[in-house]
C-alpha cells in the first residue's frame, strides 16, 4: 500500500535559519506529490505540488521541494524562516482508489519558529 513517512514530528528552529522538513513515500508507480500547510485552528492549504516535469517546485512564500525518484523523497526546504511560518506541514501523495484518486497524508511535522 502507498504510504507517506514524515521523518520528524516536530522541528524547532530560530527565525532566519534554514529548515528542511523530510518526506519519503513508497510507490512503484508514477506519483503526484503535495505539501499542505495548516496554521493554528485552520484548515489545510496547498503549499506546493509536483505533478511532472521539473523536479524542483516552488511556492510563492519561499518554500521549495525537490522530487527525488531514486530516493522516493519529496523534502520541503526554506533558506530563511519567519515567525509566521510556524504551522504544521503535511506531505501527501495521490494514489488510485477504485476509479478515482485519494490523498494519503503523512502524520505531519510541526514547525515552530522561535525569535
Amino acid at each position: 500500500a502507498q504510504s507517506v513517512t514524515q521523518l520528524d514530528s516536530q522541528v524547532p528552529v530560530f527565525e532566519e535559519a534554514p529548515v528542511e522538513l523530510r518526506c519519503n513515500y513508497s510507490s512503484s508507480v508514477s506519483v503526484y506529490l503535495f505539501w499542505y500547510v495548516q496554521y493554528p485552528n485552520q484548515g489545510l492549504q496547498l503549499l506546493l505540488k509536483y505533478l511532472s516535469g521539473s523536479t524542483l517546485v516552488e511556492s510563492i512564500n519561499g518554500f521549495e521541494a525537490e522530487f527525488n525518484k531514486s530516493q522516493t523523497s519529496f523534502h520541503l526546504r526554506k533558506p530563511s524562516v519567519h515567525i509566521s511560518d510556524t504551522a504544521e506541514y503535511f506531505c501527501a501523495v495521490s494514489v488510485s482508489w477504485g476509479s478515482n484518486y485519494k490523498l494519503t497524508f503523512g502524520k505531519g511535522t510541526l514547525l515552530t519558529v522561535n525569535p
Binding site: 514530528s9 503526484y32 499542505y36 489545510l44 496547498l46 505533478l51 495521490s94 484518486y101
Partner: protein, 114 residues
C-alpha cells in the same frame, strides 16, 4: 479562499447520540470529501462523493454515513457517536477525482464525544 463552510464549528455530544456535520461549498466542484484529523495520524479519508447521490467509502468509514442530495452540500452522520469519534473533521472539495487535482479544505469541525 475556496468557498467552503462547515457547521457546526464546535460540538460536544454524548455517547450514543446521533450527530450530523454539514459541509457547504459555493464552487460547484463535483468531488467532496470528509476527513478526520487525529494527533499522530495525519488526515484520514472517511467518505467521499463524486456527484449528487454518488458516494463511496474511504479508509476509515466504519460508524459513519454520508449523503449528498445537492451539489453544494455533503453531510456526514455519526449514527451513534462513540468516544473514539472525538476528532477534528475536515471537508474538502476538488474539481475532479484525478490525482493531479488540488483539494481545498474547509475550516474544520471539532467534535467531542463524552
Amino acid at each position: 479562499d475556496a468557498g467552503i463552510t462547515q457547521s457546526p464549528r464546535h460540538k460536544v455530544t454524548e455517547t450514543g447520540t446521533p450527530v450530523t456535520l454539514r459541509c457547504h461549498q459555493t464552487e460547484n466542484h463535483r468531488y467532496m470529501y470528509w476527513y478526520r484529523q487525529d494527533p499522530g495520524h495525519g488526515l484520514r479519508l472517511i467518505h467521499y462523493s463524486y456527484g449528487v447521490k454518488d458516494t463511496d467509502k474511504g479508509e476509515v468509514s466504519d460508524g459513519y454515513s454520508v449523503s449528498r442530495s445537492k451539489t453544494e452540500d455533503f453531510l456526514l452522520t455519526l449514527e451513534s457517536a462513540t468516544s473514539s469519534q472525538t476528532s477534528v473533521y475536515f471537508c474538502a472539495i476538488s474539481e475532479s477525482g484525478q490525482g493531479y487535482n488540488e483539494q481545498f479544505f474547509g475550516p474544520g469541525t471539532r467534535l467531542t464525544v463524552l
